[in-house]
């Protein structure tokens, strides 16, 4: 209760400062669902939208243990995390495949040096809410818990089997810069390339 309160207070300040920018756009989602709870790696149910005081945005990174493209993005996820976590962005790893146990996920986070706390999403409740369909895929929510970006981390993968030597657009990073600046994310969605979350449904 106290946590949520403090975040609201921060929110008021931010909203005040950015009043003109915020007033110009309609919310894309009507905030977080109050009843959404996901198990963490100790099987405690937690509110995925709950953040530390002062958080200005939250990024969900949908990943899976055995998806090669998702794994290849581990260093890039780490880089974005290290650049934006100090600026008030919270990161959550979300594992939507029910076949991936807490022990597998712990080993995965360690082996790949992945950033942020890990949550399991065995019924794809958060994936469905965020409309994420792929691992790896990123969803950014702003201080009002409105989704401001959904899609790829960058454009290195054009499609399955077609890869650029290096990314030419850093969509997640650009969206975070815009979100922190309080300006509109220029491309609020971009197709992600990787493994299909729908396949994980039981």
């Amino acid at each position: 209760m106290g946590e949520g309160m403090r975040r609201l207070i921060t929110l008021f300040c931010a909203a005040f400062a950015l009043a003109s920018a915020l007033a110009a756009r309609a919310p894309e989602t009507a905030g977080a669902p109050s009843d959404l709870r996901l198990p963490d790696l100790d099987n405690h149910l937690v509110d995925p939208f709950q953040t530390a005081p002062g958080a200005k945005a939250i990024v969900f990174l949908f990943v899976s243990v055995e998806c090669p493209i998702s794994n290849r993005y581990a260093p890039e996820m780490r880089r974005v995390h290290d650049a934006f976590a100090p600026r008030g962005v919270a990161f959550r790893l979300v594992y939507p495949n029910p076949a991936e146990s807490p022990a597998m996920i712990r080993a995965h986070v360690k082996d790949y040096n992945l950033p942020g706390g890990a949550l399991r999403d065995p019924k794809q409740a958060l994936a469905t809410f965020a409309q994420a369909t792929i691992t790896p895929e990123a969803a950014i929510y702003d201080v009002l818990n409105r989704r401001v970006y959904l899609g790829r981390i960058d454009d290195r993968y054009v499609s399955l089997g077609l890869e650029r030597p290096a990314a030419t657009r850093h969509d997640l990073q650009d969206a975070l810069v815009a979100t922190l600046a309080g300006t509109r994310v220029s491309a609020p969605t971009a197709p992600a390339v990787g493994c299909y979350i729908a396949d994980f449904a039981r």
Binding site: E66, C67, P68, S70, N71, R72, Y73, A74, P75, E76, N97, A99, D111, Y112, N113, V158, S159, L160, G161, L162, E163, R164, P165, A166, T168, C195, Y196, A198, D199, F200
Partner: protein, 684 residues
Amino acid sequence: MASRTETQALVSVALLLTCSSAHAQPLTFNKDIAPIVFARCAPCHRAGEIGPFSLLSYDDVKQRATLIADVTARGVMPPWKPAPGGEPFADARSLRADELKRLQDWIRQGAAEGDPRDLPPAPPALTSGGGWPLGTPDLIVQMDQEFTLAAGGADVFRTFVMPIPTTAARYVRAIEFRPGNARAVHHANIGVDRTRSSRRLDERDPEPGYAGGMARDAVYPPGYMLGWTPGQRPRPSPDGMAWRLERDSDLVAELHLQPTGKPEPVQASVGFYFTDRAPVRAPVGLRLGSETIDIAPGDGRYMVTDSYVVPVDVELLAIQPHAHNLAREMEADATLPDQSTRRLIRIADWDFRWQDVYRYERAVALPKGTTIRMRFSYDNSEGNPRNPSRPPTRVVWGQNTSDEMGDLWLQIVAREASDHALLNADVESKRAAEDLAAYTKLLTHDPGNPLRHDAVAMLYLQSGRAAEAAAALRESLALNPESAPAHYNLGLALSMQRQFEQAQVAFQEAVRLAPDHAEAYNNLGAMLHLFGRLEEAAGQYRRAAALRPDNAEAQNNLARVLVQQGRPTEAVDHFRRALALKDDFASAMSGLAWIRATSAAPLQDAAEAVRLAERADALTGHRDAAVLDALAAAYANAGSFDRATATASLALRAAESARLLNLAAEIRDRLALYRQGRAFQAPR
């Protein structure tokens, strides 16, 4: 009436539909899909192999069903680039049309598991569990240290050098590459380096291996294409077509490494499978393409085309297209003398990462006069996602991945063994001409670099253009007068122009600058030998042999001096040593045959003389005057005077056309003897 017929027709259609749906059992994994997945996917998609996840169970496949539907529909998986419709390849990994349809239908129907009793046994592992598919190798070499591939970043191209501990030359019937860490190694090109160039590059790089591609001295065994791509089964060479591995060589593996997201240890190894059987057929590596590629930025349709007319009847065994990131489409076909065409390969969407050596299921017969054509297209525009430069820049030919290449390698073998020498020379001269064009282009950009002059000179030497080679070497020596290799090569170029006195000076300069240069002593000996200074020549040959005990040429030359000095018993010993080092050495065979045919007992041996001379004659394509002369002497010695006369006539014609006038005169005298039914006897 009409209306009743329509009704009947409708009823029958409805019945048909009912019948067909009654027949269509829903597809199940265990019955319909597992056989496809086990055969086409699981060889790579299992623990320890390159596939990043296993596909060995229903759960494995079900939790990736949409992914599988997507990648198979678009032909991304299984990774097999050649389009169907050409000459068929062995070990094709693509799905047949009916297999693809069954897989797609199953996924659309909801991907049911089915009856467990229908499930076939899982396929045996290709390499998992430490096994080598061809059995325990005769020799295994391994990277001496692990290389650690970083978690992220661009793909890494790195070359590793592994000394091969052999004490004698061996015939290799197969090699098998083991990536060590299949998930990080995307493919390997494999060469053999008899020099120490690759080791020197390795020593200069502090980490295991060195950054970049193979050195020019690391080459395929002549006529073979060695490499590894995931999922490829090792294939022994066809019977009688082993390749010769010289002793003390280095195996060089250029690895394409793909970061996986976490640091990966890489320690590749290669197993060798030897045979005692010397090859009876030698393949030739024909290269088509361009080494003067120069693509303007933004050019979306740059073409490389080339063609080659085969000079003798050949069989095509394998094909390997090679290019880097900008190539898009590749095609090659053969137009036979009867104007029919065979498609040799077509790749509609080239992907550097899935390059392969493609072996034909059956050898493709290409008669003399067949034209082989190739055409590669390149896209250096911004619209090509694989373009490594943004914005696009000018791209020229080169080995680095930011450069481009356009090679089409064909492994061909002459139908008749006697055509091999001619085919090989023709293919070599085509390759040398293209190399020369490339290196001349590089030289014009870097004229102050003596190494550029050396490179051009070497190519002139290989194509027999001695005067141009000598000119380039003099340019090189003007820039770097203390280069022993340049003096040595100048000696070679001058001796090819029959400027033997000047050549002797050049070889002397080479041994002065490099006192351990065995080949230079050998060639210095050869000049003295030509001047008739036999004792001095023998001394130089002995120094060459002492420095390099495996130098077959020095042994052969020494034996020839000894023959001239009237010491045939010692000569036999050195010819034998030459043949022990190089068992297809035609010159040593014919030298030994000559002694066996023309000496008195106990050196005389008619049967061995004929056997050796016939083999030497086959190896030289029935057109070497000295070898034909020895064969004629062997026939005469064995009492076959008709054959001796016929062979000596051929020898005479060959000697005359090569303007070997002294030899021609001697053969004429011997021919007269054979016509009288008399053998030739060496003067005692």
